[in-house]
């Protein structure tokens, strides 16, 4: 036998649904109020970086990982760019152009990324 739904139960269910919808759409309701995306650039951009700006923005972590692997485990300490420029695989190489770790922190804070490079590497 099918049970007939009482009005009170229906109200409860619709309230619950409304609450659920609000919660899942909360992030979208905030549109426009979000903090501006930081776009840090090199502080002394006299030279081009080891890779294009687009590549570095998206993949700097892969490059750093590759550097780390090369320098620590393979003994390959020098990075050669396609156009023949040479860089030492070292965090301080980055900071020669990019100033300080503040450069890293701005985006990482925005993206809530928490790399722990600087807990050991405090040079710069």
């Amino acid at each position: 036998m099918r049970r007939v739904m009482k009005i009170r139960e229906r109200i409860l269910i619709f309230c619950g649904l409304a609450l659920f919808l609000f919660v899942v759409s909360y992030a979208f309701l905030q549109e426009g109020k979000a903090k501006k995306i930081p776009t840090p650039v090199a502080e002394s951009a006299s030279e081009q970086c080891v890779e294009s700006r687009e590549y570095m923005r998206a993949n700097h972590m892969l490059l750093l990982d590759d550097w780390r692997h090369g320098a620590v485990r393979e003994g390959e300490r020098i990075h050669v760019t396609p156009d023949g420029r040479k860089f030492e695989k070292n965090l301080s190489t980055c900071f020669q152009c990019h100033g300080s770790r503040g450069f890293c922190v701005r985006c990482h804070t925005y993206a809530s990324a928490k790399p722990n490079c600087f807990s050991c590497h405090h040079e710069m």
């Binding site: 485990r73 003994g75 050991c120 405090h122 040079e123």
Partner: protein
């Protein structure tokens, strides 16, 4: 069953076992070589093999300059207690550094003196065999037994495997106990193992290790053991030297002139 067949089966069995073991990498390659191969110079033939000769006759009692220099440039913390202790190079009495050597009728001078101990950068390192993540590994190009602090999980299997007590663990945050932070070299995180790196960061700049450079007596000599013309090889040629616990087959790269 005649003897030939028995011999054949025995050899096949041994061969299969050895092959399987070596193929999976459980046994080090040299395990199945003849004994002579291990006694010859330079078992690792490709590239360099950094090594050190310590002339203990020149080492001054009470002097800790090399130790201080090393611990300073590598940001080795000093907690001031034995339980948290971290050390890369230190001095201990003869019977502790060379426990296998004879203790009978040893001259008073030898008995009373302290001897330097550090990572031996073994040619056949047991710590590397034990490490489950290859966080510690022997560098193929120069024989240094290195640590990858990024990969170490802190299981301390290498500490159990090292027969020289050369490894230390970061039981707590090391930065609490670093007096003067050297900006040129990173610190370590809590929870990883660390040890002497033969100053690989200085070698990359063609500098001698800090301990070698600081010793006012010139007691430490550093060089390529695979180069017969090197200064270390000359010293080994001219003097009778000891390696710590050479009977274990680890082939240390640190030699002592007593």
């Amino acid at each position: 069953m005649n003897d030939n067949r028995r011999e054949f089966i025995r050899k096949t069995g041994l061969g299969v076992l050895a092959g399987l073991g070596a193929a999976t990498g459980i046994f080090s390659k040299s395990s199945f070589e003849t004994a002579e191969a291990q006694t010859t110079h330079g078992a690792s033939t490709s590239g360099k093999r950094w090594g050190m000769v310590i002339d203990t006759r020149k080492c001054r009692e009470g002097c800790t300059k090399c130790i201080d220099a090393c611990h300073e440039v590598h940001n080795v913390p000093d907690f001031g207690n034995a339980k948290d202790e971290i050390k890369w190079i230190w001095k201990s009495p003869y019977e502790n550094v060379f426990p296998g050597e004879s203790k009978q009728f040893v001259s008073e001078e030898t008995r009373e003196k302290s001897y330097l101990a550090l990572c031996n950068h073994c040619d056949n390192p047991p710590c590397v065999r034990a490490c489950p993540t290859r966080a510690t590994f022997k560098r193929s190009w120069d024989g240094i037994v290195a640590m990858d602090y990024h990969r170490c999980i802190g299981c301390r299997f290498c500490m159990a495997a090292c027969p020289y007590g050369s490894r230390s663990f970061n039981w707590r945050d090391p930065r609490e106990a670093i007096e003067k932070r050297d900006q040129a070299y990173p610190t370590r995180e809590r929870g990883v193992v660390e040890k002497c790196n033969f100053c690989s960061e200085r070698l990359a700049q063609n500098l001698n290790p800090a301990c070698v450079e600081t010793c006012p007596e010139g007691a430490l000599t550093f060089g390529d053991l695979n180069d017969p013309e090197s200064e270390v090889r000359m010293l080994l040629e001219k003097n009778h030297t000891l390696q710590r616990k050479s009977e274990l087959g680890t082939r240390p790269s640190v030699f002592y002139i007593i």
